[in-house]
Protein backbone atom coordinates (compact mmCIF):
# COMPACT_ATOMS: atom_id res chain seq x y z
CA UNK A 1 0.00 0.00 0.00
CA UNK A 2 1.35 3.40 -0.95
CA UNK A 3 1.21 5.77 1.97
CA UNK A 4 0.82 9.34 0.93
CA UNK A 5 1.94 10.64 4.31
CA UNK A 6 5.51 11.33 3.25
CA UNK A 7 4.60 13.00 -0.02
CA UNK A 8 2.01 15.13 1.78
CA UNK A 9 4.56 16.21 4.37
CA UNK A 10 6.46 18.23 1.78
CA UNK A 11 3.47 19.26 -0.31
CA UNK A 12 2.78 23.02 -0.05
CA UNK A 13 -0.90 22.44 -0.78
CA UNK A 14 -1.12 19.92 2.06
CA UNK A 15 0.59 22.41 4.36
CA UNK A 16 -1.86 25.08 3.28
CA UNK A 17 -4.87 22.81 3.90
CA UNK A 18 -3.49 21.73 7.28
CA UNK A 19 -2.99 25.34 8.30
CA UNK A 20 -6.55 26.17 7.31
CA UNK A 21 -8.28 23.86 9.77
CA UNK A 22 -11.05 25.64 11.69
CA UNK A 23 -9.54 26.27 15.09
CA UNK A 24 -12.37 27.07 17.44
CA UNK A 25 -16.09 27.57 17.63
CA UNK A 26 -17.61 30.97 18.33
CA UNK A 27 -16.41 32.31 21.68
CA UNK A 28 -18.16 30.94 24.75
CA UNK A 29 -18.36 27.38 23.42
CA UNK A 30 -17.30 25.90 26.75
CA UNK A 31 -20.07 27.81 28.52
CA UNK A 32 -22.63 26.68 25.96
CA UNK A 33 -21.65 23.05 26.55
CA UNK A 34 -21.82 23.58 30.33
CA UNK A 35 -25.27 25.19 30.01
CA UNK A 36 -26.53 22.30 27.89
CA UNK A 37 -25.12 19.81 30.33
CA UNK A 38 -26.85 21.65 33.16
CA UNK A 39 -30.12 21.67 31.24
CA UNK A 40 -29.77 17.97 30.60
CA UNK A 41 -29.43 17.31 34.30
CA UNK A 42 -32.70 19.10 35.03
CA UNK A 43 -35.34 16.39 35.06
CA UNK A 44 -37.67 16.49 32.08
CA UNK A 45 -41.42 16.92 32.65
CA UNK A 46 -42.36 13.31 31.78
CA UNK A 47 -39.78 12.05 34.26
CA UNK A 48 -41.14 14.35 36.98
CA UNK A 49 -44.71 13.24 36.25
CA UNK A 50 -43.67 9.60 36.33
CA UNK A 51 -41.96 10.04 39.68
CA UNK A 52 -44.97 11.83 41.15
CA UNK A 53 -47.28 9.17 39.75
CA UNK A 54 -45.23 6.39 41.31
CA UNK A 55 -45.40 8.18 44.65
CA UNK A 56 -49.15 8.65 44.49
CA UNK A 57 -50.06 5.16 43.30
CA UNK A 58 -49.38 3.29 46.61
CA UNK A 59 -51.21 5.96 48.62
CA UNK A 60 -54.21 5.85 46.29
CA UNK A 61 -54.23 2.05 46.32
CA UNK A 62 -54.09 1.95 50.13
CA UNK A 63 -56.92 4.49 50.40
CA UNK A 64 -59.04 2.46 47.96
CA UNK A 65 -58.46 -0.73 49.94
CA UNK A 66 -59.37 0.97 53.20
CA UNK A 67 -62.57 2.38 51.69
CA UNK A 68 -63.48 -1.02 50.23
CA UNK A 69 -62.88 -2.70 53.60
CA UNK A 70 -64.96 -0.07 55.36
CA UNK A 71 -67.81 -0.55 52.85
CA UNK A 72 -67.64 -4.29 53.08
CA UNK A 73 -67.65 -4.23 56.89
CA UNK A 74 -70.72 -1.99 57.01
CA UNK A 75 -72.74 -3.89 54.43
CA UNK A 76 -71.47 -7.44 54.82
CA UNK A 77 -74.76 -8.73 56.21
CA UNK A 78 -77.22 -6.76 54.09
CA UNK A 79 -75.56 -7.00 50.66
CA UNK A 80 -76.27 -9.97 48.45
CA UNK A 81 -72.73 -10.15 47.06
CA UNK A 82 -69.33 -9.13 48.37
CA UNK A 83 -68.80 -6.87 45.31
CA UNK A 84 -71.93 -4.92 46.12
CA UNK A 85 -70.75 -4.64 49.69
CA UNK A 86 -67.25 -3.50 48.73
CA UNK A 87 -68.60 -0.92 46.27
CA UNK A 88 -71.38 0.10 48.69
CA UNK A 89 -74.05 -0.36 46.02
CA UNK A 90 -77.63 0.05 47.26
CA UNK A 91 -79.83 -2.97 46.98
CA UNK A 92 -82.24 -2.55 44.09
CA UNK A 93 -85.17 -4.85 43.39
CA UNK A 94 -87.55 -4.61 40.44
CA UNK A 95 -90.26 -3.17 42.72
CA UNK A 96 -87.97 -0.59 44.30
CA UNK A 97 -86.59 0.40 40.89
CA UNK A 98 -90.11 1.38 39.71
CA UNK A 99 -91.17 3.04 42.96
CA UNK A 100 -92.11 6.74 42.59
CA UNK A 101 -89.30 7.81 44.89
CA UNK A 102 -86.76 6.30 42.51
CA UNK A 103 -88.53 7.36 39.32
CA UNK A 104 -89.52 10.91 40.28
CA UNK A 105 -87.36 11.65 43.28
CA UNK A 106 -88.11 12.02 46.97
CA UNK A 107 -90.64 14.90 46.53
CA UNK A 108 -92.97 12.72 44.46
CA UNK A 109 -92.87 10.03 47.09
CA UNK A 110 -93.84 12.58 49.75
CA UNK A 111 -96.93 13.78 47.80
CA UNK A 112 -97.98 10.21 47.21
CA UNK A 113 -97.96 9.41 50.91
CA UNK A 114 -99.94 12.58 51.63
Amino acid sequence: MIDHDESLANDPLAALVRASAPERFESGFRDRVAARLHAERQPALPAVLQRQFLRIVPIAAAASLMLAAYNWWGARETSSSPIEAVLNLPQITLASAYSPSVLYGAAAADTETQ
Partner: protein, 196 residues
Amino acid sequence: MPERTTDADLLASARAGDDRAFAALVERYESAVAATAAGMLGPGDDADDVGQEAFIRFHRSLDHFRGESSLKTYLVHIAMNLSLNALRRRRRSVFRFISRDETPIESAEPSVGPDGNVDVEELRVLVRRAVSQLNEKHRAVVVLRMFDDCSTRDAAKILGIPEGTVLSRLSRAMKELEALLAPYIDSGAGVPETIR
Protein backbone atom coordinates in the same frame (compact mmCIF):
# COMPACT_ATOMS: atom_id res chain seq x y z
CA MET B 1 -6.96 23.76 35.83
CA PRO B 2 -3.26 23.47 34.98
CA GLU B 3 -2.47 22.49 31.38
CA ARG B 4 -0.13 19.71 32.50
CA THR B 5 -2.99 17.78 34.07
CA THR B 6 -3.27 14.60 32.04
CA ASP B 7 -6.36 13.49 30.22
CA ALA B 8 -6.56 10.49 32.52
CA ASP B 9 -6.64 12.73 35.60
CA LEU B 10 -9.25 15.01 34.06
CA LEU B 11 -11.31 12.01 33.02
CA ALA B 12 -11.17 10.53 36.51
CA SER B 13 -12.28 13.85 38.01
CA ALA B 14 -15.01 14.30 35.42
CA ARG B 15 -16.28 10.80 36.14
CA ALA B 16 -16.43 11.72 39.80
CA GLY B 17 -18.70 14.63 38.87
CA ASP B 18 -16.14 17.43 38.68
CA ASP B 19 -17.60 19.85 36.14
CA ARG B 20 -14.44 21.94 36.06
CA ALA B 21 -12.45 18.91 34.92
CA PHE B 22 -14.97 18.26 32.18
CA ALA B 23 -14.84 21.93 31.16
CA ALA B 24 -11.06 21.63 30.93
CA LEU B 25 -11.48 18.65 28.59
CA VAL B 26 -13.93 20.66 26.48
CA GLU B 27 -11.43 23.47 26.24
CA ARG B 28 -8.59 21.10 25.43
CA TYR B 29 -10.42 19.30 22.62
CA GLU B 30 -12.58 22.12 21.30
CA SER B 31 -10.19 22.69 18.41
CA ALA B 32 -10.26 19.03 17.31
CA VAL B 33 -14.05 18.90 17.42
CA ALA B 34 -14.31 22.31 15.72
CA ALA B 35 -12.00 21.16 12.94
CA THR B 36 -14.27 18.17 12.33
CA ALA B 37 -17.67 19.82 12.68
CA ALA B 38 -16.87 23.13 10.99
CA GLY B 39 -14.76 21.34 8.39
CA MET B 40 -17.69 19.13 7.44
CA LEU B 41 -20.57 21.57 7.88
CA GLY B 42 -18.95 24.95 7.47
CA PRO B 43 -18.90 27.56 10.19
CA GLY B 44 -22.20 28.37 11.86
CA ASP B 45 -24.91 27.08 14.14
CA ASP B 46 -25.03 23.58 12.69
CA ALA B 47 -21.36 23.03 13.43
CA ASP B 48 -21.70 24.57 16.88
CA ASP B 49 -24.66 22.29 17.66
CA VAL B 50 -22.72 19.25 16.51
CA GLY B 51 -19.77 20.33 18.64
CA GLN B 52 -21.95 20.71 21.72
CA GLU B 53 -23.71 17.43 21.07
CA ALA B 54 -20.38 15.65 20.66
CA PHE B 55 -19.28 16.76 24.12
CA ILE B 56 -22.68 16.00 25.66
CA ARG B 57 -22.53 12.47 24.25
CA PHE B 58 -18.99 12.14 25.48
CA HIS B 59 -20.15 13.20 28.95
CA ARG B 60 -22.90 10.58 28.87
CA SER B 61 -20.40 7.91 27.94
CA LEU B 62 -17.64 8.94 30.37
CA ASP B 63 -17.98 5.68 32.24
CA HIS B 64 -17.80 3.64 29.04
CA PHE B 65 -14.68 5.30 27.63
CA ARG B 66 -11.94 2.76 28.22
CA GLY B 67 -9.14 4.57 26.46
CA GLU B 68 -8.74 2.05 23.64
CA SER B 69 -8.28 5.01 21.30
CA SER B 70 -6.99 8.43 22.21
CA LEU B 71 -9.51 10.86 23.61
CA LYS B 72 -9.03 13.08 20.59
CA THR B 73 -9.80 10.23 18.19
CA TYR B 74 -12.83 9.27 20.29
CA LEU B 75 -14.22 12.81 20.20
CA VAL B 76 -13.44 13.27 16.51
CA HIS B 77 -15.24 9.99 15.84
CA ILE B 78 -18.38 11.23 17.63
CA ALA B 79 -18.17 14.62 15.91
CA MET B 80 -17.71 13.02 12.47
CA ASN B 81 -20.72 10.73 12.93
CA LEU B 82 -22.86 13.64 14.09
CA SER B 83 -21.63 15.80 11.19
CA LEU B 84 -22.48 13.10 8.65
CA ASN B 85 -25.93 12.77 10.22
CA ALA B 86 -26.38 16.53 10.03
CA LEU B 87 -25.40 16.49 6.36
CA ARG B 88 -27.96 13.74 5.72
CA ARG B 89 -30.61 15.79 7.49
CA ARG B 90 -29.65 18.80 5.39
CA ARG B 91 -30.08 16.77 2.23
CA ARG B 92 -33.46 15.48 3.34
CA SER B 93 -34.63 18.91 4.37
CA VAL B 94 -37.39 20.16 2.09
CA PHE B 95 -36.59 23.77 2.68
CA ARG B 96 -32.97 23.85 1.73
CA PHE B 97 -30.80 26.67 2.87
CA ILE B 98 -28.84 28.36 0.15
CA SER B 99 -25.76 26.24 0.46
CA ARG B 100 -22.46 27.95 0.77
CA ASP B 101 -21.24 25.06 -1.35
CA GLU B 102 -22.81 26.79 -4.29
CA THR B 103 -20.90 29.99 -3.66
CA PRO B 104 -18.27 30.20 -6.34
CA ILE B 105 -14.85 30.26 -4.87
CA GLU B 106 -13.91 33.16 -7.13
CA SER B 107 -16.47 35.34 -5.40
CA ALA B 108 -14.11 35.80 -2.51
CA GLU B 109 -10.97 37.03 -4.16
CA PRO B 110 -8.34 37.35 -1.46
CA SER B 111 -6.58 40.63 -1.07
CA VAL B 112 -2.88 40.76 -1.77
CA GLY B 113 -0.71 42.59 0.71
CA PRO B 114 2.18 44.95 -0.11
CA ASP B 115 4.57 42.01 0.16
CA GLY B 116 2.75 40.32 -2.70
CA ASN B 117 1.37 37.61 -0.45
CA VAL B 118 -2.26 36.76 -0.04
CA ASP B 119 -3.74 37.70 3.35
CA VAL B 120 -3.28 34.58 5.50
CA GLU B 121 -6.72 34.60 7.05
CA GLU B 122 -8.43 35.16 3.72
CA LEU B 123 -6.44 32.35 2.20
CA ARG B 124 -7.52 30.03 4.99
CA VAL B 125 -11.13 30.96 4.36
CA LEU B 126 -10.62 30.17 0.68
CA VAL B 127 -9.15 26.79 1.49
CA ARG B 128 -12.04 25.96 3.85
CA ARG B 129 -14.46 26.99 1.13
CA ALA B 130 -12.65 24.78 -1.36
CA VAL B 131 -12.84 21.87 1.10
CA SER B 132 -16.56 22.48 1.49
CA GLN B 133 -16.94 22.10 -2.28
CA LEU B 134 -15.58 18.56 -2.17
CA ASN B 135 -18.11 15.77 -2.10
CA GLU B 136 -18.97 14.41 1.32
CA LYS B 137 -16.71 11.35 1.14
CA HIS B 138 -13.66 13.28 -0.02
CA ARG B 139 -14.36 16.06 2.44
CA ALA B 140 -14.54 13.62 5.35
CA VAL B 141 -11.14 12.20 4.48
CA VAL B 142 -9.56 15.64 4.09
CA VAL B 143 -11.08 16.82 7.36
CA LEU B 144 -9.81 13.80 9.27
CA ARG B 145 -6.38 13.55 7.68
CA MET B 146 -5.54 17.20 7.13
CA PHE B 147 -7.63 19.22 9.59
CA ASP B 148 -7.63 16.75 12.48
CA ASP B 149 -4.27 15.22 11.67
CA CYS B 150 -5.61 11.71 12.19
CA SER B 151 -3.56 8.78 10.98
CA THR B 152 -4.76 6.88 7.92
CA ARG B 153 -5.65 3.98 10.21
CA ASP B 154 -7.72 6.15 12.55
CA ALA B 155 -9.45 7.86 9.63
CA ALA B 156 -10.30 4.44 8.18
CA LYS B 157 -11.64 3.27 11.52
CA ILE B 158 -13.73 6.41 12.03
CA LEU B 159 -15.24 6.25 8.55
CA GLY B 160 -15.57 2.47 8.54
CA ILE B 161 -13.68 2.06 5.27
CA PRO B 162 -10.41 0.31 4.35
CA GLU B 163 -7.17 2.25 4.70
CA GLY B 164 -6.59 1.97 0.97
CA THR B 165 -9.87 3.75 0.32
CA VAL B 166 -8.82 6.56 2.66
CA LEU B 167 -5.60 6.98 0.70
CA SER B 168 -7.25 6.93 -2.71
CA ARG B 169 -9.97 9.37 -1.61
CA LEU B 170 -7.36 11.64 -0.10
CA SER B 171 -5.31 11.57 -3.28
CA ARG B 172 -8.35 12.46 -5.41
CA ALA B 173 -9.48 15.11 -2.95
CA MET B 174 -6.06 16.76 -2.98
CA LYS B 175 -6.15 16.87 -6.78
CA GLU B 176 -9.54 18.53 -6.67
CA LEU B 177 -8.29 21.03 -4.10
CA GLU B 178 -5.26 21.72 -6.23
CA ALA B 179 -7.53 22.54 -9.15
CA LEU B 180 -9.78 24.73 -7.03
CA LEU B 181 -6.92 26.59 -5.41
CA ALA B 182 -4.58 26.71 -8.39
CA PRO B 183 -5.15 30.40 -9.06
CA TYR B 184 -3.89 31.28 -5.60
CA ILE B 185 -1.07 28.80 -5.42
CA ASP B 186 0.32 29.26 -8.92
CA SER B 187 -0.31 32.98 -9.26
CA GLY B 188 2.11 35.68 -8.29
CA ALA B 189 -0.01 36.24 -5.23
CA GLY B 190 1.93 33.71 -3.23
CA VAL B 191 1.16 31.66 -0.22
CA PRO B 192 2.67 33.35 2.82
CA GLU B 193 5.77 31.80 4.33
CA THR B 194 3.95 31.25 7.62
CA ILE B 195 1.80 28.49 6.18
CA ARG B 196 4.09 27.09 3.58
